[in-house]
C-alpha cells in the first residue's frame, strides 16, 4: 500500500477534545506525524485582560475540564505573588488537599480514557466510577462537580464541610484498595502489557530538550517535580516521593501516574492530619501594583505556569498561561514515528491530552 495521510481528528474517537493529528502511514507503520491544534481556541488570555481579578477565577477553571481546580489554584497563586498576599495556613492546607484530590480525579480520568482507547471498557467504567468518589468529595467541598471555582485570592471560598475529614479518609482508603484492583486489571493482563511495554519511547534527552514536563518526563527518568524542586504552598511540610520510571515508554508513563495516585493519597492523609484551625480566607486587595507575578504548579499533566503583569488597576494587563500539554504535543511526532497505527492511541492517550488548556 502506498503511503497516505490519515486525519485522526478533529472529530475522531482517539482525540480527547478537538484537535487533529495527521499521521502519514505506510501500511500500518507511521512515517510522519503532524499535530494541528487550535480548534478550541477561546482567547482566554484576551478575555482575562477585560475582567477584574476575582472574575478570572471561574474563567481559569475553564482551562481544563480534567483538572480545573489546579488552574484556578495556579491563578490565585500567581495573583497572590503579584499582590503580595499572605494566605492563611488553613487555606494552604485545604488547597493542597483539594488539588491532590483533583490530581487523583484527573489521573483516574486519564486512566479511564486510556483504557477506553485501548479497548478495555471495564477500565473505563471502573475508573470513572471511582473518580466519582473524589468528585463527590470535591462537590461537598466546593459546590460544583467539574468547574469548582474554589480557590480565592487570599484563601479558599469555603471552609471544610462537617464530616469532611471522615469522608475524605474513607475515600482515600477506598482508593488505595481500588488501586490494587487496577494493577490487576491493567498490568495483570498480558494484552495490556503487550500494548504498552516498549511502545512510544521518549528518550531522556529528547524529553528535556522538547520541554516535556510532568509524568511524561518523569517516566523518562528525569526527576523534575515542582512540588519537590521548587515547592509552593505547604508542600515542603509534606512527606512524599516523586514517582520516577526510567524506561520512557507507555508503560512507564502509566506506572508513574499510578504511583502518583498512591503518593497523592499519602499527601491527602497528611494534609488532613496537619490541618490547623483558623481562618480560611482573608480579604484580598482589589487592585494590583504595576509589577509582574509568576506562579508555577505541578499540574497533573506537567508544569503549569502563569505570568501576570499588573498595571495598577483592578484588571490584569497581560496574563500568559503556559499549558504543559501544548509543549508536550509538540513533541508528539518525535515519539510517534516508527510505531504502528494502533500505537497512536496508546501513545497519545498516554500523554494525557487536555485540549481546553492546550488551545486556551
Amino acid at each position: 500500500m502506498a503511503e497516505m495521510w490519515i486525519n485522526m481528528g478533529p472529530q475522531h474517537p482517539m482525540t480527547h477534545g478537538l484537535w487533529n493529528l495527521r499521521v502519514k502511514v505506510d501500511g500500518e507503520t507511521i512515517v510522519d506525524a503532524e499535530p494541528e491544534v487550535g480548534y478550541l481556541h477561546r482567547g482566554i488570555e484576551k478575555i482575562c485582560e477585560g475582567l477584574t481579578y476575582p472574575q478570572i477565577i471561574p474563567i481559569a477553571d475553564r482551562l481544563c475540564y480534567g483538572s480545573s481546580l489546579t488552574w484556578s489554584h495556579l491563578y490565585c497563586l500567581t495573583v497572590e505573588d503579584l499582590m503580595d498576599v499572605e494566605v492563611p495556613e488553613r487555606a494552604e492546607y485545604i488547597r493542597v488537599m483539594s488539588i491532590e484530590m483533583q490530581r487523583i480525579a484527573s489521573h483516574l480520568m486519564w486512566l479511564a480514557a486510556y483504557a477506553g482507547d485501548l479497548g478495555l471498557s471495564v477500565g473505563f467504567t471502573y475508573t470513572m466510577r471511582d473518580r466519582e468518589v473524589f468528585v463527590d468529595l470535591l462537590q461537598a467541598l466546593t459546590g460544583s462537580r467539574l468547574t469548582y471555582n474554589y480557590p480565592r485570592i487570599g484563601g479558599v471560598a469555603h471552609d471544610l464541610p462537617p464530616d469532611f475529614e471522615r469522608d475524605a479518609l474513607r475515600a482515600v482508603e477506598y482508593m488505595e484498595r481500588r488501586l490494587k484492583e487496577y494493577e490487576d486489571l491493567f498490568e495483570g493482563s498480558k494484552i495490556f502489557m503487550m500494548r504498552n511495554v516498549g511502545i512510544g519511547i521518549l528518550r531522556k534527552e529528547d524529553g528535556m530538550n522538547l520541554g516535556v514536563t510532568g509524568p511524561s518526563l518523569r517516566a523518562s527518568g528525569v526527576s523534575y517535580d515542582l512540588r519537590k524542586d521548587m515547592p509552593y504552598s505547604v508542600y515542603p511540610e509534606m512527606d512524599f516521593n516523586v514517582a520516577i520510571h526510567k524506561d520512557g515508554d507507555c508503560y512507564a508513563r502509566y506506572r508513574v501516574r499510578m504511583d502518583e495516585m498512591w503518593e497523592s493519597c499519602r499527601i491527602i492523609r497528611q494534609a488532613l492530619r496537619k490541618m490547623p484551625e483558623g481562618r480560611w480566607r482573608i480579604v484580598a486587595p482589589r487592585t494590583a501594583p504595576a509589577e509582574t507575578g509568576l506562579g508555577r504548579v505541578e499540574d497533573p499533566r506537567g508544569e503549569a505556569v502563569m505570568y501576570v503583569v499588573g498595571d495598577g488597576s483592578d484588571k490584569p494587563y497581560r496574563l500568559k498561561i503556559r499549558s504543559p500539554i501544548f509543549v508536550t504535543v509538540s513533541a508528539a511526532p518525535k515519539i510517534l514515528v516508527g510505531y504502528k497505527l494502533a500505537d497512536v492511541v496508546a501513545i497519545m492517550g498516554g500523554l494525557d491530552m487536555c485540549i481546553g488548556e492546550n488551545d486556551r
Partner: protein, 169 residues
C-alpha cells in the same frame, strides 16, 4: 526555609549590594556568571526571591546568551515564552529552568514597536518551537530563522494579532 522567606519580596538582592554572598547563593552565582560572560548585553540582574532570577538582555545577543545558558550554566528546560505588549515596546520574557540548581531565570528582552523581531531559539531548546509560533500568532512577534513560523492557534488566513493592545474585538 520558612514560608515567609519564600513568598515575600524582602529577599530582593541586587548583585552590587551584596558581593560577599555571591558564592553562597547559587542564584547569585548564576547572575554573576551571566554578567561576566556578557558584560554589555546583560543588565539588571536581580534575584526576585530565592530561586527566581531576573535578567534583562539585549535582543541582538539573545541567541548567544541562551546558548551559553544551556551549554555552560545547565539551564536545560525552557519553561515558557511570553510576549507582552507595553505602550512603548514589546517585551519577550523567557522563563528558563535548571533542573539541577533548581533555578528559574526570567530572561527579558524588549523590541521596539515597529520591529518586533528576535532570534529564534528553537534550535537551542526544541520546546521553544511551538511557543514561538504561539507568540507569533497571538502577538505578532517575528522569530528570525524559525523553522516553520506559521499561525498555530488561529486559522491561517487571520490578518490580526489578537493579544496586541490595539486590537479591539
Amino acid at each position: 526555609m520558612s514560608e515567609g522567606d519564600e513568598r515575600g519580596r524582602a529577599g530582593v538582592v541586587s548583585i552590587e549590594k551584596a558581593p560577599s554572598r555571591i558564592d553562597e547563593d547559587p542564584g547569585l552565582r548564576v547572575l554573576r556568571a551571566i554578567a561576566d560572560s556578557f558584560p554589555e548585553a546583560v543588565s539588571g540582574g536581580t534575584q526576585l526571591k530565592p530561586g527566581v532570577l531576573r535578567v534583562h538582555v539585549e535582543r541582538a545577543d539573545l541567541y548567544s546568551v541562551c546558548r551559553n545558558l544551556k551549554e555552560s550554566l545547565g539551564f536545560e528546560h525552557l519553561t515558557m515564552i511570553s510576549a507582552v505588549d507595553y505602550e512603548d515596546r514589546f517585551e519577550i520574557v523567557y522563563h528558563i529552568t535548571s533542573y539541577e540548581a533548581r533555578l528559574l531565570l526570567e530572561l527579558i528582552t524588549s523590541t521596539p514597536k515597529d520591529d518586533p523581531s528576535v532570534d529564534s531559539i528553537s534550535t537551542i531548546w526544541g520546546g521553544a518551537n511551538w511557543q514561538e509560533r504561539e507568540a507569533f500568532d497571538l502577538m505578532g512577534v517575528v522569530f528570525r530563522s524559525h523553522p516553520k513560523l506559521e499561525r498555530i492557534l488561529l486559522p491561517k488566513d487571520v490578518l490580526y494579532h489578537p493579544l496586541r493592545k490595539d486590537f479591539k474585538g
